[in-house]
């Protein structure tokens, strides 16, 4: 349900919200309706590009405390209208889109750093803080969460928690879900809850993990305590080019299964090496570019680095040395400015997935085959950016340089590529997604991914949000 746009009921809704947060923190401006109608998902971008009307919020609120969030949830429950949480809107899956109108709750004024515990090395912050602002403040004190995603300046802490996001240093420091100690969240009925203060215990299942990745469908996370780390004494990088992707993958796997602790390994396939690495870093090589890095105390880094170098040199390779690795680190965010990023009129999608070492190359090749055989208008490129003890993530992309002009045709083609690629990935043991989330984009495939286990998630959703108010229609949960 939604309050009809021209109903005077909207005035009551507005009055009640303004009473909670103050009129300066409620907006029904057309400017905001436009700005909150599009996140970083290609379909709403396409819709704007083609001049089609997009779903918009009826009202945007900017609460400053968990108590205000709680009261907003109660108002939404009372009117039985959708409440969609919006952090930075930088999500690529349409997660923050108010597809059924209603209230958009923008968290960016929940942006205080509440405590830096220098004894236990933790930080407690409100979830609307821009990740880069948190990191900069921690750096002043000599620490970092080491969560360094390319959208560090675009996105909020809460957005990363809600999507189980990841940063470039994840191979050593983990994804965001590995960094969380505890959470505060507001439920659909306005109850404010806290999860247990430490993540390792045997006092029942881990409630924090229930909210991580829930994409605003279970509640609004308002506060989080994260682990922090001292800034490393040194950070060293080294780059290689391997003759082909297979060799690069094997080298990367060896670094992990020999249980070295690189902070980053990034391996680009031949197509990305030829295209992106040349364009952004000016490195003109054929083959598969691999960069890795270690950080920490100088002597330990030197030791691990020497072992890593020996592993890489045991494969056919060209050694690019430390400088071309350091270059990659220095320019790691440049890839995402419009002059380097894919953008409309191109159609593009990031098919990020994850699998074990035994499966990951098959996943890569299966999706590549789908694109090449079924979608001749599309290209396929990829890199492997987050590595685990057991496998790694594949950041594959498809790009269609000249998609149909008609928005409907373009969207249908787009969805077909996604479905075909991800079904091929799942067949080979890949998942729907590794760190961008599900959102609106991939909800329809969740039941295929989970099988009967999806009912468990649906039942949790029904129990925690019986009126289906929190971000309805996302993650494959019931629309309205």
């Amino acid at each position: 349900m939604r309050v009809p746009t021209d109903s005077y009921l909207n005035e009551f809704l507005y009055t009640e919200l303004a009473d909670v947060v103050g009129p300066e923190n409620v907006s029904t401006s057309q400017a905001d309706k436009i700005a909150y109608s599009c996140d970083y998902y290609w379909i709403p971008e396409l819709w704007i590009d083609r001049g089609r009307p997009s779903p918009e919020p009826d009202v945007v609120v900017h609460p400053r405390t968990a108590e205000e969030v709680s009261q907003i949830c109660r108002i939404a429950a009372n009117y039985k209208i959708p409440l969609t949480t919006w952090g930075g809107g930088s999500g690529s899956q349409g997660g923050a889109l108010p597809i059924h109108g209603g209230i958009v709750l923008d968290t960016k004024k929940l942006n205080r750093i509440l405590e830096i515990d220098k004894t236990s090395l933790t930080v407690t912050a409100e979830t609307g803080i821009i990740m880069q602002h948190l990191e900069w403040e921690l750096e002043r004190e000599g620490f970092g969460t080491m969560h360094e995603p390319a959208s560090i300046g675009c996105a909020t802490l809460g957005g990363f928690l809600a999507h189980r996001g990841t940063g470039v240093l994840s191979t050593k420091y983990g994804k965001i879900e590995d960094m969380v100690m505890a959470l505060e969240a507001v439920l659909a009925d306005g109850t404010i809850i806290n999860t247990l203060p430490v993540p390792r215990h045997a006092s029942g299942p881990d409630l924090s993990q229930l909210f991580l990745g829930s994409e605003g469908t279970f509640g609004v996370m308002t506060k989080a305590t994260l682990k922090i780390h001292p800034l490393p004494e040194v950070r060293r990088f080294h780059a290689f080019v391997f003759p082909d992707l297979h060799t690069g993958l094997e080298a990367g796997r060896q670094l992990m299964v020999r249980r070295l602790r690189p902070s980053v390994i990034r391996l680009y396939d031949e197509a990305e090496t030829r295209r992106l690495i040349r364009r952004v870093l000016g490195i003109d090589k054929e083959g598969a570019y691999l960069v890795f890095g270690f950080d920490g105390d100088r002597d330990l880094v030197d030791l691990e680095l020497s072992k890593a170098l020996a592993i890489c040199r045991s494969f056919p390779h060209e050694d690019l040395g430390p400088d071309l690795g350091q270059d990659w680190w220095d320019h790691r965010y440049d890839f995402f400015f419009p002059n380097h990023m894919f953008h409309l009129p191109q159609a593009f999608g990031t098919l990020d997935t994850v699998a074990t070492f035994a499966n990951i190359e098959n996943v890569y090749r299966a999706m590549k085959q789908v694109v090449e055989e079924q979608f001749p208008m599309a290209r396929y490129i990829g890199h492997f950016s987050h590595w685990y003890e057991w496998g790694c993530m594949l950041y594959a992309r498809f790009i269609i340089d000249d998609p149909p002009q008609d928005a409907h045709e373009a969207a249908q083609l787009y969805n077909r590529v996604w479905d075909a690629c991800l079904r091929a990935a799942m067949q080979q043991g890949g998942l729907l997604n590794e760190h961008h989330g599900i959102g609106l984009k991939l909800g329809r495939l969740m039941r295929e991914l989970y099988g009967p286990a999806y009912t468990v998630l649906e039942n949790i959703k029904r129990a925690i949000d019986p009126n289906n108010i929190m971000n309805p229609g996302k993650m494959g949960f019931q629309s309205r």
Partner: protein, 371 residues
């Protein structure tokens, strides 16, 4: 529509978030319509005829302080402030600017200053007719914010000019440079005002035009040449550059000062636009006793109070108050005793919201006090 000249910026920004965390208004205001992406989305819709300049969209397009941090951060050479300025000119051409904007324009046209204060009171605080000469080597352009709000800056500058035995004058008919008008979208009115002022300046036949106001400095350095307005070859300097030169020439010699830590706040026009970073620091370095503590956010990435043209705070006092508070907090983190700016608008905004122990001074005040 003038915005069509900025299509590449609009099309890049509309789907890009890469500068959100540095956008001055965005960080404080928190709305998605505040950041360049939001502006890009709005302008794209207008450009393509999918939306009109409705009052809501117009308001959003005046919610940018033109600090230029987005542009500095951008690696794709996009210029949101230019696109926003073009939009404002389009809005004015359609007669759709907000009432508050029109009021500032009326003030400027009627009284020569954005506040609507009487023109004859402009130099009231500065003293008598000996400030004016028919001809002089140096024209000191005081500017509206200095004259009406921060006259002690002008007094300090006059002391420096006196100490250097400069052959200088003020302009008896000084008015705004017209820059606030162009920043609000009134390009024709801005040109008329600029032409009038330029004629006044030329009349004195100076060699040097010096100002304590960075907005005026940029008007003379950037806007006037772009409009083809002739200043008869006069050299234009901001006071920071001028004083730096005087100290180097030994024309003024600052006395030793009691020990203190100072931090300097760079700004949009003096810093980001004209890269005058070293001169203020050299000047402060010339005072034995003064130690310079740099903010983490300094030089081209300095935080902004939104000083360009001195108009943003007139339209959005509450927002600009919070922008100033952020600058003060940042400055306080350096442990400085005094925060120094080289901009009357900035000083005014900082003074209004100073909740810290920092003393606030303009650069020329610090110099004058040491003479």
């Amino acid at each position: 529509m003038l915005i069509s000249e900025h299509t590449s910026t609009i099309e890049a920004c509309r789907f890009c978030f890469m500068c959100r965390h540095v956008c001055t208004v965005g960080v404080i205001g928190g709305r998605e319509s505040d950041i360049p992406r939001g502006k890009g989305l709005i302008l794209f819709k207008v450009l393509k005829g999918h939306a009109d300049y409705s009052p809501d969209l117009v308001d959003a397009l005046y919610r940018c302080c033109l600090c230029g941090l987005c542009e500095t951060w951008c690696k794709a050479d996009c210029r949101p402030p230019d696109a926003i300025l073009a939009a404002r000119a389009d809005i004015v051409a359609q007669g759709k600017e907000p009432v508050a904007v029109r009021r500032i324009k009326d003030h400027l046209l009627q009284t020569g200053n954005p506040f609507g204060l009487p023109a004859e009171e402009r130099f009231q605080a500065l003293g008598g007719p000996d400030l004016f000469r028919g001809q002089a080597e140096v024209v000191y352009y005081v500017g509206c914010d200095t004259a009406y709000r921060q006259p002690q800056i002008a007094t300090a500058m006059l002391k420096i000019l006196g100490a250097a035995n400069a052959d200088f004058t003020l302009l008896p008919n000084e008015r705004s440079t017209g820059k606030p008008l162009s920043l609000l979208g009134y390009r024709d009115e801005a040109r008329t005002m600029a032409e009038q002022l330029a004629a006044e300046i030329r009349g004195v036949r100076p060699k040097l035009l010096v100002t304590t106001c960075p907005s005026a400095f940029d008007a003379f350095k950037t806007d006037y040449p772009a409009m083809g307005i002739d200043l008869a070859g006069v050299e234009v300097l901001h006071a920071a550059q001028y004083v730096d030169r005087l100290i180097e020439q030994g024309a003024v010699v600052p006395r030793k000062q009691p020990a203190a830590i100072a931090t300097f706040l760079d700004g949009t026009y003096l810093g980001r636009t004209h890269a005058v970073y070293d001169e203020p620091r050299r000047i402060l370095g010339a005072f034995a006793g003064l130690t310079l503590g740099e903010m983490v956010w300094a030089r081209e990435l300095a935080y902004s109070c939104g000083e360009p043209g001195g108009v943003f705070h007139l339209l959005h006092p509450e927002l600009s108050g919070r922008m100033a508070a952020r600058v003060l907090e940042e400055a306080a983190k350096t442990g400085a005793d005094v925060l120094i700016t080289a901009c009357p608008t900035t000083l005014e905004l900082l003074q209004k919201g100073n909740h810290t122990k920092l003393k606030l001074r303009d650069l020329v005040e610090v110099v004058a006090a040491a003479l």
